[in-house]
Each structure stands twice: as C-alpha cells, then as structure tokens.
C-alpha cells in the first residue's frame, strides 16, 4: 500500500467513522468488522492509530452513556426519587431490589458485552496491522493492547460520574436481604446441632462444628444455598464488570458486618448465664464464611488470589488446616475470618461492658458472660474501655445516697471476684475499685457492715440480693488455705535456686498499671485486704470486731461459741495473732466461764443438799449461769447500778463466794445490769415467757410483792434513776403486763399489774406465746460503748502525752506526733490511724488548746 495524499487520509477517516457508527450503533451486527480493516490500516500507516482508538472509544462512550447507562439508572428512579419513608416501603417488598437490580444489571451488561465485542473487532484489526508493521520493521504505535483497558475504564467512569447517591444504599439493602436469607437457610439446618453443642459443650469449643449432621438435610441446604450464592455471585460479577468492584465489596462487607452485629446481639441478649462467644464463632464459620467462600469461588478468585501478599500474613494468625465444608481456605478467606472474629469480639465486648454493672449484680450466676468478656478483651486489648465505662456506671448507679452500704459492699465484693477472673493481676480492679472505696470511706456504717459481713453469716439486713456475708466468710476460709500454701512455698521450697527461678519469671507490669501504685500490691488480690483498705487500718477493723464480739458474747444465754472461734481463727491468720489477742482472751473467758460454772454449780448443789431444812429455795442455783470476763481485755463496758431482788442477790453472792473459794485470791465483781434472763410470768389464767435484760426482770419481780408501784418508789427500790425506770418499764406496759396511770403527783406514774385477761386488750395477748423467748432490748441501747465514744475517750488519754511532747519540742507535724505516740505509748497502746489523730488534734485546736501553723501543731500560748 502506498502513502497517498491527504485526501486519501480524509477518505479513510470518513470510511472509518461511518463504519464505526454502523458497528457501535448497529443492533448486534458485527458484520461490518472486516470492512473496517483497510480504513484502519490506512489511518495507522499515516500514524493516526491513537486518533482511531480515541474516536472509537468516544463513540462507544456516547452510545453507552446515552442508551445503556440512562436506561440503567432509570430503573432505580422510583427509589431514588422517593422520600425516606417511601424507601422503606420499597425495602419491605420481598423481591426488591433483587429483581430490579438483576434485570438492570443484565441489560446493561448485555449492552456492555456487545460493546466489548465491538472493541475486540477493532483490537483484532489493529493487531493484524501491528503485526504486519512489525514484520516490515516499521515504526507503529501499539494501540491494540491498551484499547480494552481504556474501554473498561471508560465504562466505570461513565457509571461513576452518573451514579445516583442512593445506589450504594440499594446495594447494601440487596446484600443484607440476601445474607439474611442465607442465614435463615443455614440456621434452619444447623439449628439443632448448634443449640445442642452450646448447651452441652459450653459452646466454647469450635470443633463442635464437626459433629455429625443429618447429611441429607445438609445436602439440600447446600444446594439451596448454592443457588442463592450463585445468584448473588452473578450480581457481584455484573457489578464488578461494570467497575463497581470496591463499592460492591464495601457493600457486602458492611452487610456481613451488620448481620454479624445483629447476630451477636441476638445471641448475647440480656442473659448472662450462658456463654455466647463459641456460638458466635461457629456462626461466623457457618454463614458469612461459607458465603464468602462460595462467592469467591464463583467469582473465580478464591484460591490465593492475593498470594503476592502472603508475605504480610500475620505470624500470629494460626492457619487452620481446613474449614468445615471449605477445605483449605484461601488467603482472602483467612483474612475475612480474622476480620470477622475481631469484629465479633469487639461487638460482644462492647455489649458486655455496657451491661457490666448488671452482670456483676448477677455474679456468680453471670460468670459465663464474664468469661466471654475476658476472652474478648484478651483479643481486642481494649481494657481501658471497660474501666471507663464501668466507673461511670458505678458513679451513676451505685455510689448514690439511695444505695445501702450493704449493697455497695456486696457489689464491691462481686466486682472484685468478677474482675479477678478477667484480670488476675488486679490492675483494672485497682482502677475500678478506687471510686468505690473512696465512697465507702465516707459512709459511717461501713466498718460495721464489713464486720457484720465477716462475723455474721447473714450479712446484716441484706436487701435480698445474694449473701455477701457468706461470701466474705468463705473468702476468709479460702484465704486461710492460700496462706497455708503460701507458707509452704515460702519456707519449704524457697531455696536460692527457687528464688532465682522466681526472679527469672518476673514479668513487667501490664501497660495499664498505674506506676504510682506498687506492683507488690497486685501479687495477690485478697478481698479482705481490699476491705481493710477501705477502712484504713486493720486496727480499726479489729477494734470494731472486738466491740461487736463483746456485745454478742455478753448477750448470749449459753456458752456456745464454736462459730466465733472459727471466725477468730480465720481472722488471726489474716491479721496476725497479736492483733487478735484481746478477742482471743474474750473467747477464752467464755470457755473458762463454762467450766467454772459447772464446777461451781455442782459444788453449790452438793452444799444445798447437805444443808437440809433450808426454806424451799425460790430459785435453784441451777438457773444461774455467769459469764466471767477478764475486763482488762474487753472493750469498756457500760455498768449501771441495779438492785436485784434479794433472792437473786443471794444466788449471786453464793456463786461469787464459791468462786472466791475455788479461785482464791481471785474474786468476782458482778455487773448486775448485764446478761439475759428467761422468765415466766404466771397468772391465774395464763402464763407468759420472756427473755429480757436483768433490769426488766428486776422491775417485774417487784410486782410480786405489790401489784402497784409508783415510778419513784420503784426506781429507788431498784436503784436506778426515775427517767431510766420510766424508759425500761415501757417494755412491760407494751406487753400488756402492766398498766400506767397518773398518780397524785404528775411526775410520778403508777404502774399496776394487769392480772386478768378481761382487763387487757385481747389482741396484745394473742401473740404472746409466739413472742415468748424473744430478746427485747430497748432500742439503741447497748452494753458496750460505741466505737466513736470509745475513740473520743481513748484519744483523751493521749492528750497529756501530746501536750507533753509539744512542751518539749515546741512544734511537731502530724506525722511526727503520730509516730512518736506509736512508738512510746504503751498503756493504753496507741493504735489510732493518722486520720483519727488528725480529727482529735483539730478538736484540740478548736478548743484553743493547740494551734496549727505551717503544717505543725504547737501549744496555744
């Protein structure tokens, strides 16, 4: 062929343009192809190959845009033009957007495939020219190879530039619906199997998947789901073909994630008693991974299509040898697996953290939820989320005036236990526990509640929820065991070699650790220790325990102290023997008393038998029991004068005499107002039993001699102040045994025995029998001084030491005073906390005895 003039070029161009128009615009007619060759060859020879290519592409683009693309988007117009509310109506339709989407995609892809054929025609024409040119060693631009890619680029850019905003939304809806369909399909098949495995194997075992299934039903499911996936695959392939590759992937990813999230929520719910992590993991394998596998296979890029990136694979990702039903998974699938699991962990974790307060309320029933949470956190490492969220829910829900101290303590104990299993190092517990401890320190009854929890199985007046008391005692027990083990470790195994091994196994604190807080505090999380740290010092706790123990022991009517001894032994292990010495002596007093009582009683009974002819004793010595205390070791006891009836007095002094004989030169000093008396009031027509304090007994016994007493004379007889008598006698009037009337003197009340049923309000009598043997101490009264009173009194003892020190020194800081008192005060030994001392000193400052200057205390001049 010869190179002609420019006219030839124009002719070729005109011919090319006309043929192009025919080809591109023609409805499926590719026959023009061969006719294209000469014109193209001519133009190429003239070096116009790129012009040919660009014109051709432009032509395709115009056609594509004006026909296929317009029609394509028009299919979605009804949805795009509707309001948000109307869009929902679309979504509810079962076949929407599936039908529209697939037909639209089909049409446009058909058009595209026709265009591709056109492109190929040109490609072939160009190729054959290029080949010839190469043979002749002519220079020629290589246009054939770039044509198809340019075409593809054109297609996607046309689509993307005309893309309606809501198209990704439509895709999203499509994938959600399809995945849900698949989910229901798989659920239906795996249901029995899944339920069974999560109930019996705890669900944490992934391999439970392999358990046998009904093969037939499985196969139907597989074929059904296969079709489903095939349909989806077709859509995906079409979308990809149009260049929506990443949009499509985003869409089905977000649909999968959305489904996973709702699955986690559905499985986890508000039931904390079953583990769900295992189910979630299994579900991931059963639904989204199966789907992805099928999809990737269908699309033909399943097997390591990302193999070039395999070098980036995390060494931590353990590659399972095979997935059930999948075989050896592709790299892409593995990535998906990790991604989905991470998301599941995170979702479940967030869900559980949000409900951690409730979960802990239900602890230990909720321990499966805690275990799940622990695993999630190990995976995600987002512990700080837990701390922040939990602290704020504590502040909002627990640490408020409305919560009882007992409830707070109970929740605290549960928190300790629950968090201990999540994080054995105790770092998070430290962060979470601090606000609770701070708050509890501000509560006046905290010490009392803690001690009650320790001593009393019932844990005080718990408002139903759980039994904190039992837990704490249990904790003491466990602690005792640990201690024994620890001792064993320390002494038996701790040779140098062991010490070396220990030091080698040292691990740095977790990053979350507060560096200000020594790590030794976190070696072992001990609940009692944490309780003590609320109170400030173990001495305060011990002191409060001693007061409660004293009160308990003094109101006993027997010598049964087995449970108290057990508690004391446990406390000794925890607080050290010397701290508990006084309490030990108190319990020992009870043991001694029991022995002494039986000695004295047998000897007294013998004497009485021998002294015959004695006026028939109104009271046998048998009825008397005595708790004999070593008062130096008991908390201060409130004594009050009381004159007991002569018969009782005789009995007491007989007992004391015998004690003196047996235990010379020790003697007894009665604390007549203390103790308990069981008595029976006998009337003509009835009798009633009561358990009362001695003063009540002394009062009512006087009414045997005389059925009527004025308060003044009775008070004198009994040896107590009138106001005290008026208060105490209320016990008997409230029981309907006495009536009160105003006498001649307004201040002097007259009390009279109500001796006949008819005189009494029957109602108050009806319950009498059931009320028998009930301890009815006047409210707010106690034989033991409260810790507060004691503290004030005890502190006063130190006043002169403090004044003395300040006289010597001029001025001293709080710490210095505290340490000096601690070192030198032996009797009474100084066992107060710094805060207690500070409180006392500020009292002295306000009394103008001391002043405070520059952080030091000095004597007020």
């Amino acid at each position: 062929m010869q190179l002609d003039d420019s006219d030839g070029a124009l002719d070729s161009w005109a011919g090319f343009c006309a043929l192009t128009g025919d080809l591109v615009g023609g409805a499926g007619d590719l026959s023009v192809g061969p006719r294209l060759a000469p014109a193209v060859a001519d133009l190429c020879a003239r070096g116009l190959a790129t012009l040919v290519r660009d014109y051709f592409l432009h032509n395709l683009e115009e056609t594509f845009k004006n026909n296929a693309v317009k029609t394509f988007w028009q299919k979605f117009h009804p949805y795009n033009n509707s309001s948000a509310v109307e869009r929902i109506k679309f979504c509810v339709q079962e076949s929407w957007p599936e039908d529209v989407l697939s037909t639209a995609l089909e049409d446009i892809c058909l058009e595209k495939s026709y265009q591709e054929k056109c492109v190929l025609v040109l490609v072939h024409t160009l190729q054959s020219y290029e080949e010839k040119a190469r043979n002749r060693k002519l220079q020629a631009a290589e246009c054939s190879s770039s044509l198809m890619p340019r075409y593809q680029l054109m297609v996607s850019s046309v689509l993307l530039t005309t893309l309606p905003l809501s198209f990704p939304e439509i895709l999203n809806v499509y994938f959600k619906k399809k995945l849900e369909e698949l989910n229901t399909l798989m659920d239906g098949s795996g249901d029995n199997d899944q339920l069974a495995s999560h109930e019996f194997s705890g669900g944490s075992n992934v391999s439970a998947w392999d358990s046998k299934m009904d093969i037939d039903s499985q196969e139907t499911v597989i074929s059904e789901s296969g079709n489903l996936v095939k349909n989806i695959g077709k859509v995906v392939r079409d979308l990809r073909c149009l260049g929506f590759t990443s949009m499509t992937e985003d869409s089905y990813s977000s649909a999968i994630i959305w489904l996973l999230k709702s699955k986690v929520h559905e499985l986890a719910g508000d039931d904390y008693r079953i583990p769900v992590l295992g189910c979630v993991k299994k579900w991931i394998q059963a639904v989204p991974l199966q789907f992805l596998h099928a999809l990737l296979t269908y699309l033909g890029d399943s097997v390591d299509y990302e193999s070039e990136s395999s070098g980036l694979k995390s060494p931590l990702a353990s590659r399972p040898s095979s997935f059930p039903g999948i075989g050896v998974p592709s790299e892409a699938l593995l990535r998906w697996h990790m991604r989905l699991e991470y998301f599941a962990y995170e979702t479940l974790q967030d869900l559980r953290i949000g409900k951690l307060f409730e979960i802990i309320v239900d602890y230990p029933e909720s321990s499966p939820a805690i275990e799940d949470l622990k695993q999630c956190l190990e995976y995600t490492g987002q512990h700080s989320k837990l701390v922040d969220s939990f602290i704020s829910s504590l502040r909002y829900r627990l640490l408020t005036a409305g919560a009882s101290t007992n409830d707070i303590l109970h929740q605290y104990v549960s928190t300790i236990k629950a968090l201990r299993s999540i994080d054995p190092t105790g770092v998070f517990l430290e962060a979470v526990g601090e606000p609770i401890r701070d708050y509890l320190r501000g509560r006046k009854d905290t010490i009392k509640c803690i001690v009650t929890m320790l001593t009393d199985g019932s844990g005080g007046n718990t408002s139903g929820a759980g039994n904190a008391g039992d837990n704490l005692l249990e904790e003491l027990n466990r602690d005792a065991e640990n201690q024994e083990n620890a001792d064993y470790d320390d002494h038996t195994n701790m040779d140098e070699k062991q010490a070396w091994l220990n030091s080698e196994s040292w691990e740095p604190d977790p990053v979350e650790a507060d560096p200000l807080k020594g790590s030794r505090n976190r070696r072992k999380i001990d609940i009692l220790g944490l309780m003590v740290s609320i109170i400030g010092s173990k001495d305060q706790l011990v002191n409060e325990y001693r007061v409660m123990l004293a009160e308990k022991l003094l109101s006993k009517s027997d010598f049964d102290i087995d449970s108290d001894i057990r508690t004391l032994e446990l406390l000794k292990i925890h607080f050290g023997e010397s701290s508990m010495q006084k309490c030990e002596i108190m319990l020992n007093d009870l043991i001694d008393s029991k022995r002494t009582n039986s000695n004295i009683k047998t000897s007294l009974l013998r004497t009485i038998e021998t002294v015959t002819g004695q006026e028939e004793a109104e009271m046998s010595h048998d009825v008397l029991d005595a708790t004999i205390i070593s008062s130096n070791f008991w908390p201060p006891i409130q004594t009050e004068d009381l004159t007991v009836p002569a018969s009782v007095d005789q009995m007491l002094s007989d007992f004391a005499k015998r004690f003196h004989q047996i235990k010379t030169p020790r003697k007894l000093l009665w604390k007549k107002n203390l103790g308990t008396v069981k008595l029976e009031l006998q009337f003509e027509d009835r009798s009633m039993q009561f358990t009362v304090v001695p003063v009540h007994a002394a009062i009512i016994m006087r009414f045997q001699e005389n059925p009527s007493w004025t308060s003044k004379t009775l008070a004198t007889e009994i040896g107590i102040p009138v106001d005290s008598l008026n208060r105490r006698i209320g016990f008997w009037t409230s029981k309907g045994v006495l009536t009160e009337s105003v006498g001649a003197d307004v201040d002097d009340h007259i009390f009279t025995v109500v001796d006949s049923m008819s005189d009494v309000n029957k109602n108050s009598i009806v319950n009498e029998s059931s009320e028998a043997f009930q301890m009815n101490e006047d409210e707010g009264e106690s034989s033991i001084s409260s810790v507060e009173e004691q503290l004030k009194k005890e502190m006063t003892v130190y006043e002169k030491f403090i004044i003395g020190m300040l006289t010597n020194f001029g001025n001293m800081t709080l710490d210095k005073i505290h340490n000096t008192l601690k070192m030198f005060c032996a009797e009474p030994s100084y066992d107060k906390s710094l805060q207690q001392l500070q409180g006392f000193l500020s009292g002295l400052v306000s009394d103008e005895k001391l002043e405070m200057r520059d952080g030091s205390y000095l004597l007020k001049k």
Binding site: L554, N632, F655, R666, G675, L679, F683, F703, E705
Partner: protein, 110 residues
C-alpha cells in the same frame, strides 16, 4: 345463820385470787434462767505489778492469757507480783533476793 352467809362467801372469795380486787399480788415470776455477767479481779492492794508495770488483772508481758495462766504471788512482806515476774527477778539475783518493793528478804508467802 343466814346473816353470816354473805360474809363467809366474801371470805371464801377473798382467798381465791383473781376474782376480786385485793391488795394481794397474784402474779408470780418464775425465773427459768438468769445468765449474769461478772468480771474477776485479783484481790490485791495494788493494781499493777511493780516489776512489769502491767495490770494484775492483765497478764505479764510473756503470757497470753490472764487469770489462771498468769497468777499472782504474794511475798512474806505482803507485796504481790506476777509469779513470772518475781521468779525472773529472784532467779537473776546472785545473792539473797530482796523484795523489789521493800527490800526485805523475799520469801513466798506460805
């Protein structure tokens, strides 16, 4: 005779408690159990031991329990000490031990 009857009846009635108001007490209190509380003390002049300065009713620094476990002992001079304290003193003396309080020769009171 008839005139006496009411009075006899009245007399009879008066001896039967619960029927008529009379100054006699008709309620009886039966003590079933009296659980009393007492403290013990050493019957000594002083309150504290002159040697260890601890209360007699307490115990010497070496003892754990007061009372029978840590008894008091009197010397012929009538001075009392914790048994354990005076024994320590007596045993530490090379020559004749003296009472720490009055320096008279120490002899346990028989």
């Amino acid at each position: 005779m008839r005139a006496f009857l009411p009075r006899t009846l009245a007399l009879l009635c008066s001896q039967r408690p619960g029927r008529l108001e009379l100054p006699l007490a008709r309620m009886k209190v039966k003590i079933l159990q009296w659980h009393a509380v007492a403290s013990w003390t050493w019957d000594a002049q002083d309150e504290t031991c002159g040697i260890c300065r601890m209360a007699f009713d307490g115990c010497c620094p070496d003892c754990k329990f007061p009372g029978d476990d840590c008894p008091l002992i009197w010397g012929a001079c009538n001075h009392a000490f914790h048994l354990h304290c005076i024994l320590k003193w007596v045993n530490s003396q090379t020559s004749t031990p003296l009472c720490p309080m009055c320096r008279r020769e120490w002899q346990f009171k028989g």
